[in-house]
Subunit: 475 residues, 3 copies
């Protein structure tokens, strides 16, 4: 028989008693602070529809979470077998109990991983599960979770309050009608959910359906996009609209952070060739390099915080991409260079007090080598938290050890959960806050940080840095 | 006088008492498990000849160990002075006592290094040495070790049993006659020693004597190699023969893991030009890039596990290479890129359940950035253990911290000792097992891994992962 | 009210009691050893003029320290506002009390950074400050520090003795008249201050005013530089003169450590084109690549230790560079490659026992991948300590963990402070020695290093390695 599955109140802290005691003391001061969530991928429909529900345990925990599905896939489980929808509408497993049983029987695959940590936090902390999942208890756990999900207390809006989310930013295509936000506002619901302006699909000339994307952009902006000037105008219009409805940030994902301005004529020519379906080799990379500078200009002018996520080779596995589309786990990081690539942008806007540029990396070699020195010099530059594959207890530790020396704490931006999985948000913030408390505690016990500053520093890490960096009102 | 030289029973464990106690408890459960050695460079003649001996202490500890010789060389000791054979047959020191004295007088050079750790494990644990080597005790220690080596208990086959080696894979050129294995089998000796198929010298068009290598390959396969098709046929024949005699794996060493298919006509043309001694610039790199995919195809078909070791610039020091040949310590790692380089291979075989591709790196920047995400997605990909310069207490620690988050434990492959020095094998496994026990212990005490799983996880790390990854029968 | 600001006697040590106790015990054996400072940027005029003073607290702590000014600048403080001189002589703040108040009000920006650690060491340890700086106590602290600075005990020569500096190397352009050293020697002052030969501005064809630099080089050498041969002759003459006056080392700073010989004719042609103001694209990089080998030759011949600092993209921020000139905080590291780049140099001089080549990096990915293997093989190569952005408690820890495994301790070179800020020198050595003591202590408690060796190893790290590597006489 299995022993009870519980959460250690001192979990994730250093094992040495003096650090542990200080970490515990510090953590207690931030454990109940509201969650600041300035970057993520939660579906806004969860909140625009007051009757939205999460579905089955499998709908909640497995199908939408590419951290989970990629791990199962890597062990030879076909994605169809765990209910991931095929693009072609082909057969996939629809029996969620069956999927859940498989998942529980493979729970050991997540031992020692951040997914394993988040799952336990959620299962024990939110759903009251008291046994580690396995083949034998799978059905019972399914019932326990399904029963809770069926209660009104587990509707998204209810959980938003219970999780104590202060603010949640979503991630939206530049042509998003933003009707979910209008509905939320109109409904009188008090939750603070904000869109984020994401123009990748209209900036990357090589994006699937780029021309259609641009036409939809024009429609959403009420602008007839027929040339580069009207395209820029449409982008500006949409940014204005995003701001109006609450956005404080834009988000840009690129494989490489190359920036290089084009002359107005070159930019117009690139755009025109693309509209005509006549893109030349190299055009897409050059145009993106130019548009990042153009977007920095817009951010400097309209005040939307500019987030730059670099270094992911998207859809690396063609077989998975063709069958299941993007975001199915086949994104693999690549070596990234910021110092030379960002220089043209920083030359123009790095000293501009109006711009806030937040950099994210998947290449840890750039933390101490490039990112910390850039953020430690340019007024406009800030560092995003450890992201994606690096959002883990180890990743957080390495991040703090590698960047604070040079950037200091106050050019970092606290935490963001960057998740599609709404119910995992408290777990992710708990891990960050505990890891941060532990890091501050160790600096205090080792005499690096003055004890009197510790609680204030942790409060910054737990939420205030994120608020300030993302220009979200302090409460 | 020197105080006694002993091995601390808690060595290499964390100093914090709760982690140390848990590590000690866990380590005890695996300390006596048989050693699984799926990759290494031990000379099979040690076991095919029942009367083989190790020679002098210098033959055992110094001359064949390029970890030792390169360190001495780096401090200005000519390799001739420590008995390394010159290619030209020129003078080298033959007085082993003299070499041993020099070595003992320089023992401090190994303080804090893995070689220092292994040496102490061997000298104390295996040879009963009770004093740290120095100039004063060198002769006495020489006598102690030589006396033991002269006993029948210190013959290789005896030690194989005493070390409790479950299985030992060697590393063999593709044209190896494999007669050592036939002799072993014929002799009725029960030790499980297996060859590994290593075709680098017939795949790399730029390898010294490539044409002769290919001719020898053909002879060993009984195939008249005169074109690309017969070359492929010879390779397949030899793989069949290696499998027959016990091989479960192939091994490929490349400077860069670039993969790119050639058309059949191009491949044939490259091969033909090389046979004619007419290789063009770039041919060798292109042909290797092609052959890695071809080798993946063969592995998918015949089931030999494909090991890929990338990132070593071989024979960097021409002076040393000319005088002493390869493997004389002049191999230096280089920056390595896997994400883009492996894509053509993975596109073809990364989703193939028949293929097991084990990746090794000397570039730690690739652990979290590329390797863990690749192994955490592609069913065919697994990660090899920290290799060569990275096989150390610190290297193991960093490896576990950097890869487990994303790959999980079950896409890693435990440990392999990768050594020529047979007597160092138990020391290397001891270091790995103690470091692993300590890592698991810390995860348990910090609440990351459930206590009930700990012993099972450590058992995997200590041998079962290696068995499974290398398709070696579970006992 | 603020609690007293003090230095914990166990600061920077591990929190675990057995490591802490051993670190404390070991540190006590080196705490009072003289400081060996083989590389830095202290102005020799501080010592050539017996009446030199440090000026105000702002002259001492803020204006000349680009670690401090870049951090303030990164938070939007214009450099003019903290008294940094503009190239054009434009307005900058001259009220040092006002600058000091601003600095104290922003003291939290340095929490957790090495600058914060050094500042506290200096303020508490040297100036007897007993409160953490803040807006409220800024004026009082200013008075306390200014009063001490006004006493004869705080003159540079006095502090040199009080700091127990055994030897201090400065950094001097190749055409430096070296009159400061003549004055020091003539004055009968016993302090050991030595120049270092730095030829970057006459080697880099693209350096500002290269032609004038070369003419000044010729004048300082008494050589009419009109062609490549006379240029080489002038360099050799100046090296001879630097040696004569006490230099034991040369220093070379490059963006990339590319080395590649030119033929005599090519080198002459490059030089001639540059003299004629007719440099072609690529000339500067090729010429530097050639000159690094030429400098290695000179070092092999004249015995000056060759330091190579690679990987900084200088003056990244054109706005700051134009207004304030070089060394104003806008230097950002870049990815660096040593294995391939250094091969042509090492092929020629890597095995030469006369050469000592000390390598420095800002790219930590190269520690275990390239630098440790190079120093662990080539007799000529040694590793410099963690440098600039990496000179911190975390940086030192990572350095020791990443390089000692492969290089061993005895191919490293201990510490150098590399600072312009003379008063920060004891603080920097204290951090290094405490971090080193802690590292050795942990190796002992974990059973990696024999207890009997520990004190000797720490003594090496605390100064003897630096003396030996820089060919400074042992006392």
């Amino acid at each position: 028989m299995t022993s009870p599955w519980t959460l250690d109140p001192d979990r994730y802290f250093d094992t040495e008693p003096s650090v542990r005691a200080k970490a515990r003391e510090l953590y207690a001061t931030v454990a109940d602070l509201p969650l600041v969530c300035p970057h993520g991928h939660v579906n806004p429909r969860l909140f625009s529809d007051p009757n939205a529900v999460f579905g089955s345990p499998v709908d909640l925990f497995i199908i939408p979470d590419h951290y989970i599905t990629r791990m199962l896939y890597s062990h030879g489980i076909p994605l169809e077998q765990i209910g991931v929808a095929r693009r072609d509408g082909g057969e996939t497993e629809r029996d969620h109990r069956r999927i859940w049983r498989l998942f529980c029987s493979l729970f050991h695959l997540f031992d020692g991983t951040p997914s394993g940590v988040w799952l336990k936090e959620e299962l024990v902390g939110l759903f009251g599960v008291d046994q580690r999942p396995d083949a034998a208890n799978a059905d019972r756990l399914y019932d326990v979770i399904a029963a809770r999900l069926a209660t009104p207390q587990f509707r998204p809006r209810e959980l938003f309050g219970r999780f104590n989310v202060a603010v949640l930013a979503t991630n939206n295509n530049a042509d998003d009608p933003l009707s979910d936000y209008q509905l939320m506002h109109a409904s009188g619901w008090s939750g603070d959910v904000r869109p984020t302006f994401r123009p990748d699909h209209v900036v990357d000339l090589g994006a699937a359906g780029w021309r259609d994307n641009v036409l939809r952009l024009g429609q959403s902006a009420g602008v007839d996009v027929h040339d580069y000037a009207s395209y820029i105008h449409a982008l500006e219009e949409r940014r204005r609209r995003f701001k109006q409805i609450g956005a404080t940030a834009a988000d840009h994902g690129v494989e490489t952070p190359w920036t290089e301005p084009l002359s107005a004529a070159e930019a117009a020519a690139h755009f025109q060739r693309a509209l005509a379906g006549n893109t030349q080799p190299g055009d897409a990379a050059r145009f993106t390099a130019h548009m990042l500078i153009e977007m920095a200009r817009m951010s400097a002018e309209d005040g939307l915080v500019m987030q730059l996520h670099a270094g992911s080779f998207r859809n690396h596995n063609p077989l998975v991409y063709e069958a299941f589309g993007p975001d199915a786990g086949g994104d693999i990081p690549v070596m990234t260079e910021f110092t030379r690539n960002l220089r043209p942008l920083l030359e123009r806007f790095g000293n501009d007090p109006r711009l806030a540029l937040i950099l994210f990396t998947l290449d840890e070699a750039t933390y101490s080598r490039e990112l910390a020195p850039l953020a430690g010099h340019y007024p406009a530059v800030r560092l995003g938290p450890p992201w994606w594959f690096l959002d883990s207890l180890n990743g957080i530790r390495r991040y703090l050890d590698l960047v604070i020396d040079t950037t200091g704490l106050h050019k970092t931006t606290g935490f963001n959960d960057d998740t599609r999985a709404f119910c995992s948000i408290p777990a992710r913030h708990t891990v960050w806050r505990r890891a941060s408390a532990n890091w501050v505690a160790e600096q205090v016990v080792r005499g690096v940080i003055d004890d009197e500053q510790a609680a204030g520093i942790l409060r910054e890490l737990a939420g205030d840095l994120a608020r300030r960096a993302y220009r979200l009102l302090m409460p």
